[in-house]
C-alpha cells in the first residue's frame, strides 16, 4: 500500500514536470475536441496522432494519447446534450435525457452535471487502477511462453465482444488481421513470407498504417454524404449546479463508478456498453422510471460516470496483462509497443517510472478536463458548428502525415489508403474492424509465444494445459467467450442492440 503510494508520488513528480503537463493538457484539449466533433472518434484520433508523437519521449507521448482517450469521453457528452448527436457511442444514452433537458432550457445543468459526474467517476476509478493494476502485474511476473500464449488467447477472446452483429464476420475479420500480420519476416526464423520479392512488403505491413486507414480514412469516406450539424441554439445558463442537484445525483455517480470500473476490467467491455448498463440500472432502481427519456438528470449522470470509470478500468487489463478492452485501447496498446514498451506483467517492473507517471497524469488530466469542460463549454458548443467539408480535408492531411511518419515511405500512405477503402467496404457489409486490429497487433506475440512453448515441450500442445496459470487463463478465456456467446444468443434482441451500440 505504502509502496504503491510512494510510487504514485514519484509518478506525480514526473507527470507534473512542465513538458509532461503541457502534453497532458494538449492531449485533454485534443480529446475534448475529438469528443465534441461528430465524425471523429477517440480511436481514429489516437490512430492519427500516434505516429506523430514519435518525436516525443515515450512518457510525454503516452500521457498525451491517454489524455486524448479519456478527454474524448468528456467531450462526447457536449454534442449529445446540445445537438442530440453523440460525439462518441458511449454518449448515446446521455443524449436520451441530456437533449431533452437542453430543450427544456436546462442545457447548462446537463452539461455541468455530465462534467462533474465524469470527474467524480474518473477520479474514483483511478484509485482502483492505482491499487489493482500493480498487484495483478506482480502476480503475472512468473509468466513464461505458455502463460503468455494463454494470455494472448484471453486477449483474443475479446473478439467475441468486438464482433458487432455477426460473430462469424467478427471471427473472419480477426483471422484476416492475423494473416496481414504474417506478411514479412517470420518472428522466429527470419524467413520472408508472402512478400513476393517486394522490398516494402519484406519489412511487413505496419499496423499504424492499417489503423489509420481503417479508422481515420474510413470515417471520412463513410461521412462524405453527411451534412454539417447545427447546434441547438439556446443560452447556456446554470452551469454551476445547486447543492441539491449534487446531493440528488451523488448516489447515481457512485453506482455508475462501480458499474463502469468493474465492467471495464472485463476484456471486451467498452464504455459504449457500460454507459448503457449504468443508464439501465438507474432506470430500474428509480422510483420514477417513467421520467427517464423525458429529461431526467440521472439519465445524464449515470452514463457519463460509467463511461469515464470504464476508461480508467480498461487501463487495468491493458497495463497488467497487455489486454485491450476496446478498439481505442487496442490502438493505444499499439502505441506502447511502438515505443518498445510491452504492456503486461513486466511493464511495472521494467518501466515503473513510466507507468506511474501515466497513472498520475490521469489524476491531473481529470482536473484539467473539469476545468476545460465547465467554464469553456460554450466554446466547445460553438465548435460543433465546424462544417464537415472543412474538417474532412484536414483530417485526411493529418492521416496522411501520420501514415508517412511511420517509416517516411509513401508506401505506408498507400497502405493507409487501401485499408481506408477496405474499411469502408467492411463498414458497408457489417464486418467489424476492431477484431482485425486486435489480432494484427497481438499476432506477433501470439505466434512467438506459441512457437517458443511448443519448442519447450518438444511439440506437445498439452503444455498449455499442464501449467496451472496457463490452464486457468485458458479456462477464463473460454468462460468469458462462452458467456459472451450465450448472452448473444440467449437474448438476441438485447444483444443485437448492445452490439450495435458498442460498434
Amino acid at each position: 500500500m505504502f509502496e504503491t503510494l510512494s510510487q504514485l508520488m514519484n509518478g506525480f513528480a514526473i507527470a507534473l514536470a512542465p513538458q509532461n503537463l503541457l502534453f497532458g493538457f494538449i492531449g485533454c484539449l485534443l480529446g475534448t475536441l475529438i469528443g465534441v466533433l461528430p465524425g471523429i472518434g477517440p480511436t481514429s484520433g489516437i490512430a492519427m496522432l500516434l505516429p506523430l508523437t514519435t518525436i516525443l519521449e515515450p512518457t510525454a507521448a503516452i500521457i498525451m494519447l491517454a489524455g486524448l482517450y479519456y478527454g474524448a469521453m468528456y467531450g462526447g457528452s457536449t454534442t449529445a446534450i446540445l445537438v442530440n448527436i453523440p460525439g462518441e457511442v458511449s454518449s448515446v444514452p446521455t443524449a436520451l435525457d441530456g437533449y431533452k433537458l437542453a430543450r427544456q432550457g436546462k442545457a447548462g445543468l446537463a452539461l455541468s452535471m455530465a462534467a462533474i459526474s465524469s470527474f467524480v467517476a474518473g477520479t474514483l476509478s483511478l484509485l482502483g487502477l492505482t491499487f489493482f493494476a500493480p498487484n495483478l502485474a506482480k502476480m503475472a511476473l512468473q509468466f513464461g511462453p505458455p502463460e503468455y500464449f494463454a494470455l494472448m488467447v484471453l486477449a483474443l477472446s475479446v473478439v467475441v465482444n468486438l464482433s458487432g452483429r455477426s460473430l462469424l464476420k467478427g471471427l473472419i475479420s480477426g483471422f484476416v488481421g492475423f494473416l496481414i500480420a504474417s506478411i514479412g519476416m517470420d518472428p522466429m526464423t527470419g524467413v520472408n513470407r508472402f512478400s513476393f520479392g517486394n522490398l516494402n512488403l519484406m519489412s511487413g505491413i505496419d499496423f499504424i498504417s492499417v489503423i489509420i486507414g481503417l479508422f481515420a480514412v474510413t470515417e471520412i469516406l463513410s461521412n462524405v454524404e453527411e451534412n454539417a450539424v447545427d447546434v441547438y441554439q439556446t443560452k447556456l445558463t446554470g452551469l454551476w449546479p445547486k447543492l441539491s442537484d449534487l446531493i440528488y445525483t451523488l448516489p447515481a455517480m457512485l453506482r455508475s463508478t462501480v458499474i463502469g470500473f468493474f465492467m471495464g476490467l472485463l476484456p471486451g467491455c467498452s464504455p459504449g456498453v457500460t454507459s448503457f448498463v449504468a443508464y439501465d440500472t438507474e432506470k430500474r432502481i428509480s422510483k420514477n422510471p417513467e421520467k427517464f427519456g423525458t429529461g431526467e438528470i440521472l439519465g445524464v449522470v449515470a452514463p457519463e460516470g460509467a463511461n469515464n470509470a470504464t476508461t480508467s478500468g480498461g487501463f487495468v487489463p491493458l497495463m497488467a496483462f497487455g489486454i485491450p478492452s476496446g478498439p481505442a485501447l487496442a490502438v493505444l496498446l499499439g502505441g506502447l509497443m511502438m515505443y518498445g514498451l510491452q504492456p503486461g506483467p513486466t511493464l511495472f517492473e521494467k518501466h515503473g517510472d513510466f507507468v506511474w507517471a501515466v497513472i498520475a497524469s490521469m489524476y491531473v488530466g481529470n482536473v484539467i478536463l473539469l476545468v476545460l469542460n465547465l467554464p469553456l463549454v460554450g466554446l466547445w458548443a460553438k465548435l460543433c458548428k465546424v462544417p464537415y467539408p472543412i474538417l474532412a480535408p484536414m483530417v485526411l492531411v493529418f492521416s496522411f502525415l501520420g501514415a508517412y511518419s511511420v517509416r517516411f515511405k509513401l508506401f505506408d500512405v498507400g497502405i493507409a489508403l487501401v485499408f481506408g477503402l477496405i474499411g469502408w467496404i467492411m463498414k458497408k457489409t457489417d464486418f467489424p474492424a476492431s477484431p482485425l486490429i486486435l489480432c494484427l497487433i497481438l499476432a506477433d506475440m501470439f505466434e512467438t509465444s506459441l512457437k517458443q512453448s511448443l519448442s519447450m515441450a518438444q511439440g506437445n500442445p498439452l503444455i498449455f494445459l499442464s501449467r496451472p496459470i496457463s490452464l486457468v487463463l485458458i479456462l477464463i478465456a473460454l468462460v468469458l467467450a462462452g458467456f459472451s456467446i450465450y448472452t448473444r444468443y440467449s437474448d438476441p434482441k438485447k444483444a443485437a442492440q448492445m452490439m450495435v451500440e458498442s460498434e
Binding site: 526464423t189 467539408p389 485526411l396 511518419s405 477503402l421
Partner: protein
Amino acid sequence: MRKANIIVASTLLALSIFIIYQAKKLPASIPGAGLGPGVVPFWLALCLAFLSALLLIINILNLDKYASGQISLNRQELISVGVIFLTLILYMIFMEYLGFGIATIFLVTFLSKRLGNYALWKCSLLGIVVAVVSVQVFRNFLSMPLPTGFLGF
C-alpha cells in the same frame, strides 16, 4: 446485403486458398527453431477458408436474418467515395513531383470545394493555410522529410 456477403465471402475464400497454397511452399519446420514459417499462416488460412465457406453457404441458403436488409449505398455516395479515393491516390502519386505543400493545397482546395461547394477563393485559402501550417510544423519544426518536389515546397 446477401449479395454483398456472397461476393465478400467468395473473395476471402479464394484469398485463403491462395494463402494456403503459398504457405505450403514455406518450410514446415526449421532445425533448432521448431515450427517453420509456413505452419501458423497455413492453419490461419485454413480457418479463414472454413469461416468464409460458412458465410458463403449461410448467405446462399439465406439463413442469416440480418443479411436480408439492403446495404445503405446509393449511386451518389458511390461516386463521392470513388472521387475522394481517386483524389487521394493522385495526391499520393503527384506529391513526389509537386512536393507536399503544393499537393496539399490542391487536395484541400479540391475536397472542400467538392464537399462543401464554397467559393473557390475560400477553398484555396483553406488549402494554403493547411499546407503552410503543415509544412511549417512537420517539415520545419519536427524535421519530417516530406517530399519537396521541383518547387521545393
